[in-house]
Assembly symmetry: C2
Homo-oligomer: 368 residues x 2
């Protein structure tokens, strides 16, 4: 959300606020603990949302702290979960999140998958009885940072039309994939299987702008460019090729819900309420792959670096450059690591109010 | 290719020809053997292209027999490969295709992945020194038919623009996923990560029709609707959201080429030549997942059937119905199993000529 979009809100000042990642993470952890979360659960949530903000994925970053602090207070989230891991084979296992934060369970699951994959070559760990885990990329990255290729999948409540459909059915069902890049940050794919995220519709509405064509539909299932009339998103590929995005969404649904025994898309309680007290029982699915079982580390390094260099050197449209998956995120991360995470004025006001209500110190912002 | 598009070709009659799958498969196997392929290698190729035709994916079906018979004669394909499988961990291994047909190696690899996954819960098998393997769905289906969830990935030579690029770089890099459906054919995702396949461009050119907008570019990297001016495809998502399709293509490239040590997209010899004698050294990557390690078979069955029923019952646009991934393919398969595989007149003429040149009996077509 751009600060200038808030010019109608008289009680918000319009400076650009920035805070260091350490400040943001500390504040998020303290807020969650003050809201009732076990410190052991609060820390991974704070880490995930901060790192997501650092990468520039603001839809799933610090702004979600307001939501997470709320749902741990209302009882949707078990504040003191007893997470368990049950191996079910040499390369497989199940984490029971005990209705705690999905981030807590997600990091545990990918770490178990990494540990198993180092023995077996590839491993998969599912998560049951979980909740929103933020950005899927966090967990794929956790695998890649340990030298493995990793995938993360999660379903969500209905936001996306089936291909040729009129009403939302599948969730935005993200796919994340990360692969180590020697001497550099991982290659990172982290994408919803809808054309755009729902959050983008809300941003454009707040900014008084139109939607691009062929991304959302109104209550009748007709394409609309008016954010305020939008009720569902199109799958990746839009009206003509949305069967591809819808197929990927179904793949994610099978891995995250059918294979975990958790409720699928249309049976999930909505993240946005009105019920904030019942556990949602989301499922996640993680895969870790040990590259050393398939190729020497020398050859992997040479090929990966050559591929990325070739890709980045491709001729580009005027005013653009060809980027590898994750390049945009890492460029933003470099900027935000140096200059801090920008916090829009309205979000700053909301976070200050949260601090007030929880009787904790607010974020100390960087001097502007 | 619709028969009426060939009305300019004076030497082709315009009846619709149909042949049973058994006839097509027998003919394909006999043709490949006559072209020099080892019978053990010819059979999986014949099986894959026939089953792909049965499912209606004509771009990767029997029409490719002409190509495969050619490349085994020109030496690109090793006619008598010695395939080997080397386990590299309890859940991982590598098939060396010895420059034989990719279909042969692909079926071997997914079968090994299934065998390993039954022990470990999940397994991955890569293929090195391979060649075009037809439709990725064949191998995912082979896993699902054995009760496992399966994924298949393969890269291909440059056909697709990078996002914001001007020239083709990645291949059409397919993703396939199949999951068992109790009492029914598997759920099947089998898609290129480009907006449309290259073959579709050629079909529209043959039919004298325009391209849809935002699917292909000309030599300058500008969007074109003229098939004859098209030189590259856009990634899934098109001009605005192609970073998603491009990201998926990179994921496939990493799994199929970087992780196998095989040449990536822009370094691959083109499938269409002009070099038909050098081995192409494609890589593939397969994953098999045992659902029993994650959920009881009863719960899996109940959830899968409920999800598919809910999806198929979603309200749809006029004249359409909401389908689950694979529904279209299985409906065509039912029709073609009953009525035969339609063979366009030009393809029939080409297959008859192939039979002639190889001194084998042509396909016996069904009475029209």
């Amino acid at each position: 959300m751009r600060p200038e979009a808030l010019s109608e809100a008289a009680d918000v000042d319009h400076r650009e606020w920035r805070a260091t990642a350490l400040q943001v993470r500390e504040f998020a952890a303290r807020a969650l603990i003050a809201a009732g979360a076990d410190p052991v659960a609060a820390w991974p949530v704070a880490t995930a949302i901060t790192e997501t903000s650092v990468r520039g994925v603001d839809s799933h970053g610090i702004r979600l702290l307001l939501h997470y602090a709320r749902v741990v207070q209302t009882g949707r989230i078990n504040p003191k979960p007893r997470l368990s891991f049950r191996p079910t084979g040499p390369g497989s296992g199940i984490v029971d999140a005990d209705h705690g934060f999905g981030h807590h369970a997600g990091y545990l699951a990918i770490d178990h998958a990494v540990e198993l994959a180092k023995v077996t070559g590839i491993a998969a760990v599912s998560v049951i009885h979980s909740s929103h885990f933020g950005s899927a990329g966090c967990y794929a990255l956790k695998g890649a940072e340990q030298g493995l290729l990793a995938m993360a999948f999660c379903n969500s409540d209905s936001f996306v039309l089936p291909h040729d459909g009129l009403q939302s059915f599948n969730g935005t069902n993200p796919i994340a994939f990360a692969a180590p890049v020697p001497g550099s940050r991982p290659l990172l794919v982290d994408m919803a299987t809808s054309v755009i995220p729902w959050n983008r519709v809300q941003d454009l509405m707040n900014e008084g702008l139109s939607l691009p064509r062929d991304v959302a539909v109104d209550i009748n299932g007709d394409i609309t460019m008016a954010p305020e009339n939008s009720v569902a998103l199109l799958p990746l590929g839009g009206t003509d090729y949305g069967y591809k995005g819808a197929a990927l969404a179904s793949m994610v649904e099978v891995l995250s819900a059918i294979l975990t025994g958790m409720p699928y898309c249309s049976r999930l309680l909505a993240m946005a309420g009105p019920d904030f007290t019942t556990h949602r029982s989301l499922g996640h699915f993680f895969i870790a792959i040990d590259p050393a079982r398939f190729v020497s580390s020398e050859l992997y390094a040479t090929a990966m670096l050559a591929y990325l260099q070739d890709l980045r050197e491709q001729p580009s449209r005027d005013g653009a450059r060809v980027m590898a998956p994750g390049d945009r995120e890492w460029a933003i991360a470099e900027d935000r690591t140096r200059w801090g995470i920008p916090i829009p004025s309205q979000l700053k006001a909301d976070l200050d109010a949260l601090a007030d209500s929880l009787h904790i110190l607010p974020i100390t912002y960087l001097p502007s």
